[in-house]
């Protein structure tokens, strides 16, 4: 599944992905779920010396990733993550895709099993512009949510507050939260206001459950 809120440019790394890559320690083993053309992974390999692996299900994206030398496994994030071993990676990334998977809970738990560190980003459906959109009687559309209601790949409509509640329920600890503005930069507003003023947010999480088991 390609990252479904913003099209990725082939040559320049999207700003939010630049920010995301800065969270990943040099030399990490990284799995990117919904890697698209593999731009983030290529960047991580070239600039941060990471060992990379992508997962993608869109035909054109898979082919592009192969052409660019990104190893990519074509499988369904919702049902086939069991193909990865426990702790096979240092970091597993799910960028702007959680709102489009069918079973977000199961996907997050699988991610926590596969790697000790999870990085998730998701558009915020409670962003103020989206709230205004709803008040004016329309399904929200914005840079982070560019689709018309009838052809959106997004199937879950959550706010950052909702998302954080889900993390807590699943025993995932937020190590870092970077609220983003609609240009993909860090939001200039105080983090506490993120559910109103961030178009999306980037979370670095650790899986409490697995850490406890490892100890």
């Amino acid at each position: 599944m390609t990252s479904v809120t913003q099209p990725s440019r082939p040559d320049r790394l999207r700003r939010d992905l630049q920010l995301l890559s800065s969270l990943i320690p040099v030399g990490s083993r990284v799995l990117d779920l919904g890697c698209g053309h593999g731009s983030l992974l290529r960047h991580l390999q070239a600039e941060r010396g990471c060992t990379i692996q992508g997962v993608e299900i869109d035909d054109e994206s898979v082919l592009t990733a192969i052409q660019r030398g990104v190893p990519v496994i074509e499988l369904d994030i919702d049902y086939q993550l069991n193909n990865f071993d426990d702790r096979a990676y240092d970091v597993v990334v799910l960028s702007r895709t959680l709102q489009a998977v069918r079973r977000p809970k199961e996907v997050l738990l699988e991610m926590a099993r596969i790697a000790p560190t999870i990085i998730v980003s998701m558009p915020n459906f409670a962003y103020w512009r989206n709230r205004l959109g709803l008040l004016s009687g329309h399904a929200p559309r914005s840079k982070d949510l560019p689709y018309a209601w009838y052809d959106s790949p997004n199937v879950h409509f959550g706010s950052l507050t909702d998302l954080e509640a889900l993390f807590a329920e699943l025993g995932l600890t937020v190590q870092r939260c970077l609220p983003l503005n609609t240009a993909g930069h860090r939001s200039a507003f105080p983090a506490a206001w993120r559910n109103w003023f961030a178009g999306a947010a980037l979370y670095e999480l650790t899986g409490q459950r697995m850490t406890a088991a490892a100890d």
């Binding site: 035909d59 898979v62 082919l63 192969i66 074509e74």
Partner: protein, 386 residues
């Protein structure tokens, strides 16, 4: 026979070559014991080897394949078995790659096998031929590669049993290859797979003409057994969907005439497949080669992935949605094992209605994938040269 029509995407006229790779001074020691003092290998090549000898792609054929993978042999208008994949402008592009395809050890299309004459006795080996292992195929492939003066292959490519050879090669000698393409293959046959193979072998060995494998001396031939083996196996290479689409319940002749002869079109098709097969395949080779597949279980070896985890060649694995002989779980298993060893793996599940035989079909998504993977390998090699 008419001359083949000039086709810019065909490698054109090809001729098999022959080389003696093992001799009494330099015998082939087999993985399961025993040795062969004489091994000859028939192979074909297409395209040109670069002066650096770094553009070679090695093709491993499947159970009933041969060295004739592409182009046309003199006097024949039938192209090689993987002609849709190999040729100028095709995914295995012979304007870029030097392609090598040998007949397997144990085969019956020119390379030494159980149907060959044992020079020590002057008689056909028959069941005295040693039991083979996937590792033996790789040993012979490596000897051919060395004979051609190639240190490192740009890629090794194979489907079904061919893909299993690629896997074995990549696991045992990962430094030999930069890229591995494993299509519709398996790292471990299931009980069901072995059961089908077993019935095929039983059909051959219970044929009165088999004569304990000495049918050549006896002047007989287990044609009936080999036919039944082929007909049954052929069903497993297709899909229910493909058979229905091709034949449905159509009668072979004007209308159905209930009885026990060939009446449905699908029956006639199977008979035809068996006929054609008898002309080109040997029962002993069928036994030996199919048995190698049954025993193949490379990840069960201690330290199976130690070597490949060091070298980390790029691996591409593909399965096809309607392949029930080696369905996606087979490919996903080997992908998970390689991936667990830190090998960069690309895996695709290719939608197709044509079952296991899909690997021989020009399916655009499949061919585009192989093309992209090999072209990337070429680009990386060019980067290494600079």
């Amino acid at each position: 026979m008419p001359a083949p029509v000039p086709d810019p995407t065909s490698v054109g006229l090809v001729a098999p070559q022959n080389v003696r790779l093992f001799t009494p001074d330099h015998p082939l020691t087999l993985a399961r014991g025993g040795r062969l003092d004489h091994v000859e290998v028939v192979y074909e090549t297409y395209g040109r080897l670069t002066p650096e000898k770094d553009n070679a792609v090695f093709i491993c054929h499947a159970l009933t394949g041969d060295a004739h993978a592409a182009g046309f042999r003199e006097g024949s208008d039938k192209p090689g078995w993987w002609d849709n994949l190999i040729g100028p402008g095709k995914p295995v592009d012979t304007t870029k790659f030097f392609v090598i395809c040998p007949n397997l050890l144990g085969g019956c299309q020119g390379t030494t096998g159980p149907g060959s004459v044992n020079p020590a006795t002057g008689a056909v080996y028959g069941l005295d031929f040693p039991i083979l292992d996937m590792a033996d195929f790789v040993t012979v492939h490596r000897a051919l590669t060395a004979h051609l003066g190639i240190d490192r292959l740009l890629a090794v490519v194979g489907g079904s049993l061919g893909g299993m050879q690629v896997l074995e090669w990549a696991l045992r000698f990962p430094a030999d290859l930069a890229n591995a393409v494993i299509v519709a293959a398996s790292s471990r046959l299931t009980a069901e797979n072995i059961a089908f193979s077993a019935v095929a072998r039983e059909a051959i060995m219970r044929d009165p003409g088999f004569r304990g494998g000495h049918y050549a001396e006896a002047g007989t031939s287990p044609d009936m057994g080999l036919s039944i083996a082929r007909m049954m196996a052929h069903i497993t290479y297709l899909s229910g969907e493909a058979l229905s689409a091709k034949f449905g319940r159509e009668p072979q002749f004007d209308g159905l005439a209930p009885g026990f002869g060939v009446d449905f079109a699908v029956e006639s098709y199977l008979h035809h497949q068996a006929e054609v097969f008898l002309d080109r395949f040997d029962a002993l080779s069928y036994l030996y080669l199919s048995r190698v597949m049954d025993y193949f279980d490379p990840f069960a070896r201690p330290g199976a992935t130690a070597a490949i985890a060091e070298v980390r060649p790029n691996v591409l694995a593909c399965s096809f949605t309607t392949d029930w002989r080696f369905d996606a779980t087979h490919s996903l298993r080997l992908v998970a094992r390689l991936h667990g060893a830190g090998v960069p793996v690309t895996y695709r599940s290719i939608p197709s209605s044509q079952g296991h035989d899909s690997f021989l079909m020009p399916i655009p998504r499949y061919h585009d994938t192989i093309r992209a993977f090999l072209d990337r390998g070429l680009a990386v090699r060019e980067g290494e040269r600079r």
